[in-house]
């Protein structure tokens, strides 16, 4: 990896990320407004990995994040939008980056997540009047252990991961029945060793990351056939060095994150060629204007910039902060959460 040292355009990427906020008028940026919370997480985590998070105004960010919080406790993708678990995790992660988890009413938020676990069984008959109902749900669990993304009942293992990761960061994992949650994830395991969105769903590297990480955080990785899944995952690396997310698909920088984290968590990351992958990611940089794209010479965006830099961090690229593969936050942030408790 040292051979490639100096090829990461740190300054340009920082400039690019800071510039996104100023380019609000293009169609792409308006079309992404509803997931600005994810964007904030991607951009800010990238800046932190690059050692440049102090370039943003922390108070401004936190005040905006808190404006996105709904009275139920969950967060929306942007001010005025509805709360969803996808944005709730990003909000918690952004607050964690600034060591500001203490601004949250942790019990209210974790009850809200727990509720998404409980409500699923009523999804078909669910009525929005529940929105206004007082949430008193301690001890309630959904029968199959799955989680919904919001009150509208979409079920997906992505939401299982998010709930588990969020509760872990908030020290509230004991609120859910993790055994049931794990059971549901295991029911989504396929014969190729991977995982899908719901039982029977095809294996996909993004989904595998969610399931493997959720099992990691709950100490349940023994449910995985590491050699079988490891072979499937390492075969995602193509001759170009890049990784795809499913067999016979094109490589994409974002899989540097989904595949690498999964391989690391099951201790099989040595089965791919790390230098070749780092080469691929570096080749996807826009060396003029900063930012990283899905493939060389494509248009850059903050999503791929984050996954590219985070991927390089997982590859131990010189000069980058290390990132925790399961909680998706810098290791120093995670250490603070888990080991600095008073």
């Amino acid at each position: 990896m040292d051979l490639l040292s100096g090829e990461l355009e740190v300054e340009k990427h920082v400039k690019y990320i800071l510039s996104i906020e100023k380019k609000k008028d293009s169609f792409e940026s308006v079309a992404m407004e509803h997931l600005r919370m994810n964007g904030a997480y991607w951009g800010l985590t990238t800046l932190d990995l690059l050692g440049k998070i102090e370039t943003v105004d922390q108070d401004e960010v936190i005040s905006w994040v808190m404006q996105c919080q709904h009275e139920s406790g969950g967060f929306a993708g942007n001010v005025g939008h509805d709360p969803h678990i996808l944005y709730t995790l990003s909000a918690v992660q952004v607050l964690a980056l600034f060591d500001k988890l203490d601004v949250l009413d942790v019990d209210k938020l974790s009850d809200c997540i727990l509720w998404l676990n409980f409500m699923e069984k009523n999804a078909a008959t669910f009525s929005p009047c529940l929105l206004d109902r007082k949430l008193d749900i301690c001890g309630l669990q959904n029968e199959d252990g799955s989680f919904s993304g919001d009150i509208w009942g979409e079920v997906d293992t992505r939401f299982s991961y998010i709930a588990i990761c969020c509760l872990s960061l908030l020290h509230r994992l004991d609120k859910i029945n993790t055994e049931k949650a794990v059971e549901y994830i295991v029911s989504c395991q396929n014969l190729d060793g991977g995982f899908g969105c719901t039982p029977g769903g095809e294996s996909h590297a993004g989904q595998i990351f969610c399931c493997v990480s959720a099992l990691a955080i709950t100490g349940s990785l023994y449910h995985i056939d590491k050699d079988l899944l490891g072979w499937w995952l390492c075969e995602r690396q193509l001759k170009s060095g890049g990784l795809n997310g499913r067999p016979e698909k094109l490589p994409d920088v974002c899989y540097s994150w989904w595949v690498l984290t999964s391989l690391i968590l099951i201790d099989r990351v040595h089965w791919i060629d790390k230098v070749k992958l780092a080469r691929f990611i570096l080749d996807c940089q826009d060396k003029e204007n900063g930012g990283i794209s899905d493939r060389p010479d494509d248009a850059v965006d903050v999503f791929h910039t984050y996954f590219g830099v985070a991927g390089l961090s997982l590859l131990e690229y010189p000069g980058l902060k290390a990132i925790d593969p399961a909680h998706a936050l810098p290791v120093d942030v995670i250490n603070k959460i888990f080991f600095d408790r008073k």
Binding site: G77, G153, G219, Y222, P247, L250, W271, F339
Partner: protein
């Protein structure tokens, strides 16, 4: 943004984009206004339609539509009005999906509306055909298809046929292969009509997948399906016992209450016990649960209470290949030098279950004898104190003719297990593997550098040897080993990107070759200390050093080992080593271990006294690949962190020391060498001495 070319800014494009953006922003703010004010008029709905048509990803828009539907349904009760409300939503979803068929929100909206029960599912296959034709790998569409077939109660056989059609029209469709594996395993599991014979079903599947693999061997679509078929073919449903310690027919000498330092006296048939107990280990061919005093009967005259069995795994899994219990002797006075028989029986009642849910169902027994020998402290050889163990070549003397009782390699005859496969099943198994081997050899004749051909052939040859080992009455000599090793060596060159994968596979085969038969194993067994040396003589050390192993396995053959040298290899993991419960001295020096968490298996070895982990990479890496595989606060497998506080100091952070604390705290080490690691400094030395109060030698020097 996926797949969009990077291009220089063009003012014209820019202006168009800004105009379009303004329109989108306008629609979006109108939608949010209507949403917040609960306005569900026709005009308001029109706005949300336009917005979702333009950008189906705006999830709040779908939420608004759902609230509007609920609101409007309350007002209407006549079927016509209900139908028009529902149809409107279905139409919107289809329009949105035509714009972006990967929109989670749109697909979910359709499920939500159909789940209300006002509409039939009859049009759903038309919709599916449209989107599955546009992209036959669209996993949203496949998920939706499974939802629709479940709602419509479509027979699984019809859906199986659908996958056949999809595969026949284009075998490079991993999604179809995947769905096929889901449906087929369901049909096999519930033994549906036409699927009662696993053999017949598998035979047909092999035919199908051969077409895919042989037409374009580089296309991965069929690879994983073929591997799955192979596993279905060779893995017996029921778990079986493959080895134990002690082994059948052995005569054990257990000396106990000896000087604590004398544990190295142990040899393979002599076991020194500190606590008046000795371990009984069972090793199965696959991870099992349910080993307990009710599923395993142990007849031993001192065994009055129910035995407590423990799975040997580094996680909190209830399943494991290896299980251990401890047999306890009463006080020593009146039983010294007497011989006590021990009999172990299992499989007589159900309860030992594999991951796939199959029961251990082969009634089997093994028996051995135990002679107790009480060693008085002063009578012990060299009782004046243990010397530091020296791993240097000079300390070892080869034992050319390993006495029989010193090479307790498992013989299946000795274990008295029943044969695992039914004769017809066994016939099918051998025939299938033989045919597959022939086919892949043919493929390799045509395409010499065919990666999947070589890999599959290697796997088939390994499977063939394994089957013959377990099903031949006499000791079977593995005939394919050399060819397999050669195939993996070729693969490392042919596919350098994945060379470490082949290297690991190569190591496993090499290791098995070395230890799975008496003759080759004896070349690696050495007496420690030589004949003249004092207290350590007769200790047999298995030396697997300098073999460039990157991965180890075959633990079922190693249960007896008490002294093991794995130094000068390329190991970064010792997964599975926890089964070697008798280990007291271990050399892992000059390998690639990069963290204490990677050594987690050693935490369950209560007899480990000597450990060498010098010249590894502990402390070098920023990313720890075993952090979540071990007990840790991060994986929520440690009760509380207060232990860590005890070892923290002002200048030493818990975050930097907790792994070392976790690892060393439970160990009873007398000798530790960890020179040559990035982590060893003065602070760390102080921590070690605190963690290991019984330590006598650290890094080659006396501690006191």
């Amino acid at each position: 943004m996926h797949g969009q070319p990077r291009k220089p800014l063009n003012p014209d494009d820019d202006a168009a984009s800004i105009a379009k953006a303004a329109k989108l922003r306008n629609l979006q703010s109108q939608l949010l206004h209507n949403h917040h004010n609960k306005i569900y008029t026709k005009e308001a709905l029109e706005i949300s339609w336009k917005l979702l048509e333009l950008n189906p990803e705006i999830y709040t828009g779908w939420n608004y539509r759902k609230l509007a539907v609920e609101h409007n349904l309350q007002a209407k009760t006549d079927p016509e009005s209900i139908k028009s409300i529902v149809d409107e939503e279905l139409k919107l979803v289809e329009t949105a999906l035509s714009r972006n068929y990967k929109s989670y929100g749109a697909w979910h909206h359709r499920k939500w509306i159909l789940n209300k029960g006002f509409s039939s599912f009859d049009h759903e296959f038309r919709l599916l055909n449209k989107f599955q034709k546009a992209d036959s790998r669209n996993f949203h569409a496949w998920n939706y298809r499974r939802f629709v077939t479940a709602m419509k109660n479509i027979p699984e056989k019809e859906e199986l046929q659908y996958t056949t059609d999809m595969i026949n029209s284009n075998f490079s469709n991993y999604s179809a292969w995947h769905n096929r594996s889901v449906i087929l395993s369901n049909l096999l599991k519930r033994k549906a009509e036409g699927f009662t014979s696993k053999e017949n079903v598998l035979a047909e599947e092999y035919d199908l997948v051969h077409q895919a693999v042989f037409v374009d061997p580089d296309d991965q679509s069929g690879w994983f399906y073929h591997l799955w078929l192979l596993e279905q073919t060779v893995t017996p449903d029921a778990p079986m016992l493959v080895s134990s310690w002690p082994i059948h027919d052995s005569d054990m000498i257990v000396s106990f209450k000896s000087n604590l330092d004398e544990t190295l006296l142990s040899t393979s048939t002599r076991y020194c016990s500190e606590s008046g107990t000795f371990p009984l280990i069972l090793y199965f061919n696959q991870p099992v649960e349910g080993v307990s005093s009710s599923t395993v009967t142990v007849n031993f005259m001192f065994c009055k209470e129910d035995l407590l069995w423990r799975p040997l795994s580094t996680t909190n899994s209830k399943k494991s290949h290896a299980w251990v219990t401890h047999l306890k002797f009463p006080d020593k006075e009146d039983n010294s030098s007497k011989v006590y028989p021990v009999e172990v029986r299992l499989g007589h009642s159900q309860g030992i279950i594999s991951s796939s849910g199959s029961h251990y169902n082969f009634p089997s027994r093994f028996a051995f004898k135990v002679t107790l020998q009480c060693v008085e402290l002063e009578a012990a050889e060299g009782g004046s104190g243990m010397k530091m163990l020296d791993w240097g070549d000079g300390s070892f003397q080869i034992c050319e003719d390993l006495p029989l009782d010193l090479s307790p390699i498992l013989s299946l005859d000795q274990l008295k297990i029943s044969r695992n496969h039914e004769p017809t099943a066994l016939h099918f198994l051998i025939e299938t593997i033989t045919t597959e081997i022939a086919l892949f050899r043919e493929l390799l004749l045509e395409i010499k550098c065919c990666k999947i051909g070589k890999l599959t052939l290697a796997r088939l040859l390994i499977a063939h040897d394994a089957i013959m080992t377990y099903n031949t009455p006499v000791e079977y000599k593995k005939v394919n080993t050399e060819e397999v090793l050669e195939l993996f060596t070729d693969l490392m060159k042919l596919d350098p990107t994945h060379s470490s994968y082949y290297k690991d596979e190569h190591s496993l085969v090499l290791m098995e070759k070395v230890i799975s038969n008496r003759k080759s194993m004896s070349k690696h067994c050495f007496f420690y200390g030589g004949s003249s040396s004092s207290n350590l003589c007769n200790s047999v050390c298995l030396r697997l050093n300098k073999l460039s192993l990157s991965k180890i396995g075959s633990f079922e053959h190693l249960l007896w080992v008490q002294m093991l040298d794995l130094s000068h290899n390329e190991l970064h993991s010792i997964e599975g080593l926890e089964a070697m419960q008798l280990l007291s001295s271990l050399n892992l020096g000059y390998n690639r271990f990069s963290s204490f968490t990677a050594l987690e298996p050693l935490r369950s070895l209560q007899t480990l006294k000597v450990l060498d982990i010098s010249y590894n990479e502990i402390g070098v890496h920023s990313i720890d690949t075993t952090r979540y595989l071990c007990s840790s606060p991060l994986s929520h497998t440690v009760e509380d962190n207060c232990d860590f506080d005890e070892y923290a100091r002002d200048d030493v952070k818990i975050a930097d020391t907790w792994e070392a604390v976790m690892f060393f705290k439970g160990l009873q080490l007398r000798q530790l060498n960890m020179t040559g690691n990035a982590i060893s400094d003065d602070n760390f030395r102080i921590l070690l001495l605190k963690l290991l109060p019984k330590l006598k030698w650290l890094d080659g020097k006396g501690v006191h």
